[in-house]
Structures are given as C-alpha cells and as structure tokens.
Symmetry: C2
Subunit: 379 residues, 2 copies
C-alpha cells in the first residue's frame, strides 16, 4: 500500500480517536527498515550496533536489535540506564565522556556485562583513572576520531590521536575497545554518490588509523556510522568491525533529500487537525506547532517544515507553540477539502527532533492502533 | 546581585552537582517578575489571568496567581487537567475548540466551578450544542477575536464576529463569558513605543467590539494579552476585564530584544558544560544541543542561539541533538578559560521553547538548589 493510500485509510479509521498532535509510528515500516539494515550489515559481514537516539524506546530497540537486546549505542546516560534497567546489555554510550557523569558511568560499568564509554581527550582518561572500577573490572573505552565531520573527536590526521590511543593502552584499569567515527558530514550530501564519497572517506581514514595502531602493536575494534552512509554502504566498510546508524528506524524527509531512502520508507508521522480557516490570508490553521513537530528544517523544503502527506500543494509556513499556519504553494485554498476537525499527516523533516517533542508514540499497523511506545528523556 | 555575579557564584556552588544540560529557574527572579505583573494589574484595576504555557508547573502557577490557584489560562488540555487535579479552578482553555477534545472539555466543565473554552467558528458552537452539559451547567465560552495578530480568531472588523457572538448568546446551554484577543503581533516590536502601539490598537479594537456588543444588548468580559503588552500596558487597558500574559514569569532574551524586560529579569538558564576543545576550528563544544535548548532564535542574535552569560564574546553557532558548537565572535579562543567540564549558563532566546525540552526544572535561590519543578506535557 502506498504511503498516500495508507494516510487515506488512516483518516477514516482508528486515527480519528487520537487527540492531536500525535506522533504515530508505522510498526511495519520500522520493521522493514530495521530488517533491511540488518541484512545489509549481514551481507557486508559487519556488526550492526543500532543507535537509539531517534526513538529512545524499548520496543523500537527490540526491533532494531532483531530481538537480541544486545549491542546498542546511546546518546545520553538516561538512555543507557533505561535500556540497562530493561535487560539490554553491550551498551556503548557514544558521547565524549562528560565529567559530571563519571560516577553514573562507573555504576553502569560495574553492573552490566559490557558498558562502554567514549573519549577524545587525555583529561577524560584522567577522570577514569581517578575512578577505578570495582571487582577488577575494566573501563571499556572507544576513542572518538573526527574523520571530517567537524564535531567531537580527535582529528584522525593529528599525532594526538595515536598518542591518546597509546595512553589508553598503557593505563591500568582501562581497555581500548575500539575506534569510533561518526560521519555526520553525510548529512550535507545529495544523492548516493555523494553519500558514498563521505562513507568511503570516513572508512579510509578510520582504516588508515587502525593500520597506524597495528604498527605500534595495538588492535581493537572500529566503527563508523550515520544513517546515510549505512543505507548506502561502500564495500570497504566490510573491513570495519561495526557500524552504528540510528535514524533509519523511522527515517524522515531529511533522509529522502539526502538520498538515504524514499518517502515510502518514512515510518513516522505527526497527525494534526485543522482548527481554523483564514480565507482573508488564504491559510488554514492546524493544531501542531513547534511543540509537536520542532523547528528543525526551517527553510529546507518547498513545503515548509514538513511534507503534508497526500497534499503536495500545501506548505507548513510557520509555527508558534501550539499552532501551525498552512497555505497553498499556489492558488486559492479550497476550504471544503479541509473542514475544521479534518486530520492531516505531517511527514517530519527530522524525526529525531519531532520524536523528542512527544511523551508518547502511538504505534499502528496500516492504521490499526496497536499500542503506545514511551520514550525516555532527560540527561 | 547582578546576573553575571549570580552566574559566577553558581559555578562554584551547588550547580556543579547538576548533570547537564539542566534547566535552572531562579525562584527569586520568578517571584519578582510575578509580583511586578500583579502590581501592574492592580494599579490598572484589571484582573490578571496568567498563562501557564511557558512553564506548565504547579509551583510557578502558585507564584503567578499570588497563591490563589484561581484564574489561569492554559494552552493545552493536559495543562487544564493537571491544574484541575491539583486544586486549581477558574481555568480558561484559550485554544480554538479542538473537535477531538470536546468530551474531555465537557468532563472538566462538569467537574470544576469554572472551566472555560474558546471558539472562533460557528461549527465549534455546533460541537458544543451536540454535547449539552449535565446538571444544568453551561458551557462558558470566550469568543476569540483576531485584532491584528494574524493567527486564530474571527477578524474583529468582520460582521461574522458579531454574528457569532449573537449566536452564542442565543444558544441554549452555553454562555458568552468573554471576548479574548491575543496580541502576539507585539512580538514583532522593538522598544516600548512599538509595544504600546500594538497594545493600544488591540485594546481599541477589542473595546470597539465590546461597544458593538453593547449596542445589541450583549455584555461580557474582555481580555487581551501578551507578555510585551502587559509588561508595558497602556492606560486604556484599564477598561478591559482581564489581561493574560504568560512568558513574563521566566522572560527570555527575545523579550529583552522586544523591550519587555532587561536581561537581569530573565529567571531561567540552561546550564551546560564544556565537553570538547577544537583549536583547529577555533571552537569549543558544549553538552547542550537542540534537545536541551530548542532551535528557536536561529539567526536572531549576534551571539547565536542564546546569550552565554558572562561571556559576551562567545557565540552559540550551531547545535545538533546533544552538541553545541561555540566560537568567539572575534579573536582566538583562550581555552584556558574554558577547561573541559567547565559550566556555562545559556540565557535562552525563547524560554517557552527551551522549557519544553526539559522533563524537570531545577529551582534555586542565588545558586542554592531548592528543589525540582515537574512540568506537564502532551496533548
């Protein structure tokens, strides 16, 4: 069934019982996206470590790990605790070790089979030295490399990277588990060729660094990731130990613009209702503002802050806290098509950002509501 | 104590125990802002009906109502239920009646002494007719007027406004409680003169409409509001029954740009820590991304997405989900001033948007932590 048909079937059915704005997740879509990524990684022969930051729910984590509840990556410590509390293990907290959270990281390290932290500065290593783990346990450390993303990580080309890796290896009570590079620069790409150029470059830089490590007698794992690069992997990624994409469970309009997926693959919507007619402005109002969608994507799409499913001539022009202003891209609005109370489905520009605004996700299969997923939040 | 000195004292004290990013509320500042608004309304002789949408907490509502727990306005139905569940009454749900929430509104109307809804379309009145309240209770209705804001509301100048008011008065089981105009267009102002021009215009249009009502034998309350207009009210606002500002409890940088308040009055910060040094980019990284601050304010300030308290030369250049990139406005960064782990205080551009990202607010008095406020969320 096409996305447009799905949306049409939604409107007549159970979705009409939901109070809006409501984030709805197409569980079949999530399963398809997850299964494709699992198979892609199996074909490559590389371990998939899915990132939880987009959804932060147990149910979606179950799907993305193929039911194993092992080998995940998280962006916040409450995510790590939430998953640990619910039987997940082999958790990588892939965030430059925050000095305020060392004790909580130690507690997780002493409690789980395999809790892993990440760092990119010798001062962070000092923090771990000051808090040796109990029972002879080791801190499992990933070294964060910046392979061109321009955010966190020690620059792959700088001698400091090798020096820090060696320092980790020479430190008692810690272990260099792996080398980690996030290719967030793939978000600047348009199309598969550009995505694969970034994937290739990140892989090359990471593998060159692994080679440098080997020459000084160090072996450990390697991992790169981002949804674009892992949706269109290059062959050489097979030489890595792991990959760590995250957004692909839901996907979003941004990923379609990048070229990671098609609009059919996007498994999440923000449902909204028409709450006002403004013929003097040729606009209508919907009950979704930035508190239900986020402001991500400003100026990026001809249809405004989202794609309004099945209504390609509509643009989500602006939002305040609880209101959205919608206008036609051209021509006058036919208000008879949008009576007060009518449901519209917004396909989010950035599903990570839209999901972050919702305390509950409503899960459905072809419009039949199956239940709720409750994300964890905070720091 | 100046805001800068307060921030300085914060860093050395209890704030260092908070995991970041953390939203901190200066309760003394909130009390000052609330008291000033209470006095301003007393001096005008107009009833203050504070809006809860910025904070959505019981404690701040207590302060803003001067402890009465009566006469508030909310933007979502869960806010209304949350306050009703905790002993608040005389609640106005100031949102164009959403057809999916009529039954929940009916339940509140039948339970509270005074629950009030708002509408701007005859179809909404039809919805209320279809659901008469039990025990002879009346639906208490505010008519939403658009007096130049350009969002919800029936245009003050159109004959439909009077027709709708008359229809409400002629309908059994409902009562026209008041006329409500939000002057959100005051957010486009710079300086007191421009604010007062909008306040005057909104007041004039509203009072002219009240006069039209009187000529057809209708009397009811009137209310206008917005934090800018109520921070600098014009004399004629004394002729209104009520005003309904909300953001002023916290205020924010946007309000200082508009001219509603000074930076000293802003009672909320997002605390963040330095988590990375990037000398090759002349940047540092902080542990606050859009998930801790929101993307509101893009392109509005020379200092980026926020003002970094006590560091006027720093700019919050960009954010991803959990990272912020900070750079100097001019010159090279002196990293010795920003060691890894150092606390910085972000003064939010838009406190409504930043507060919406936090499941808990940490409340302090001059840096001593007093407790937590838990906001309500959802729809």
């Amino acid at each position: 069934m096409t996305a447009v048909k799905r949306a049409a079937s939604m409107e007549g059915e159970a979705f009409s019982t939901l109070c809006t704005p409501a984030l709805v997740v197409d569980v079949d879509g999530v399963k398809r996206n997850a299964q494709r990524m699992i198979e892609r990684c199996q074909n490559l022969g590389v371990q998939l470590r899915p990132h939880m930051k987009t959804h932060k729910t147990l149910e979606c984590a179950d799907i993305m790990t193929g039911g194993s509840r092992r080998c995940i990556v998280v962006s916040t410590l409450p995510e790590a605790c939430f998953y640990a509390d619910h039987g997940f293990d082999d958790i990588l907290y892939a965030y430059s070790l925050p000095f305020d959270k060392v004790e909580r990281c130690a507690a997780l390290s002493e409690r789980l089979d395999l809790f892993q932290v990440l760092l990119d500065h010798p001062h962070a290593l000092d923090q771990l030295k000051k808090r040796p783990l109990r029972d002879g346990r080791l801190w499992h450390i990933w070294l964060k490399l910046d392979c061109g993303n321009g955010r966190a990580g020690v620059l792959h080309s700088e001698p400091e990277a090798l020096t820090l890796a060696q320092a980790i290896c020479e430190t008692e009570g810690v272990e260099l588990t792996g080398v980690y590079a996030h290719c967030g620069n793939s978000y600047n790409c348009k199309g598969v060729e550009e995505i694969q150029t970034v994937a290739q470059e990140t892989t090359d830089f990471t593998l060159q660094f692994m080679e440098k490590l080997r020459t000084v007698g160090i072996t450990c794992k390697s991992s790169i990731g981002s949804t674009p690069s892992c949706s269109h992997p290059v062959k050489d990624m097979a030489q890595l130990s792991e990959v760590h994409p995250g957004n692909y469970g839901f996907y979003d309009v941004q990923q379609t613009v990048i070229g990671s997926c098609s609009l059919e693959d996007v498994a999440v919507r923000v449902l909204t209702r028409v709450i006002g007619h403004c013929p003097h402005r040729n606009q209508l109002l919907i009950d979704c503002g930035w508190s239900g969608l986020s402001l991500d994507g400003a100026g990026k799409l001809p249809t405004g802050y989202a794609v309004i499913e099945g209504h390609p001539n509509l643009k989500l022009l602006s939002m305040t806290q609880e209101h959205g202003r919608v206008e036609p891209i051209s021509g006058p609005l036919d208000y008879s098509k949008y009576p007060l109370g009518a449901l519209l489905a917004l396909i989010p520009y950035h599903s990570c950002a839209s999901a972050a605004m919702h305390p509950v996700y409503h899960v459905h299969s072809e419009g039949r509501l199956l239940g709720k997923w409750i994300p964890t939040r905070g720091w």
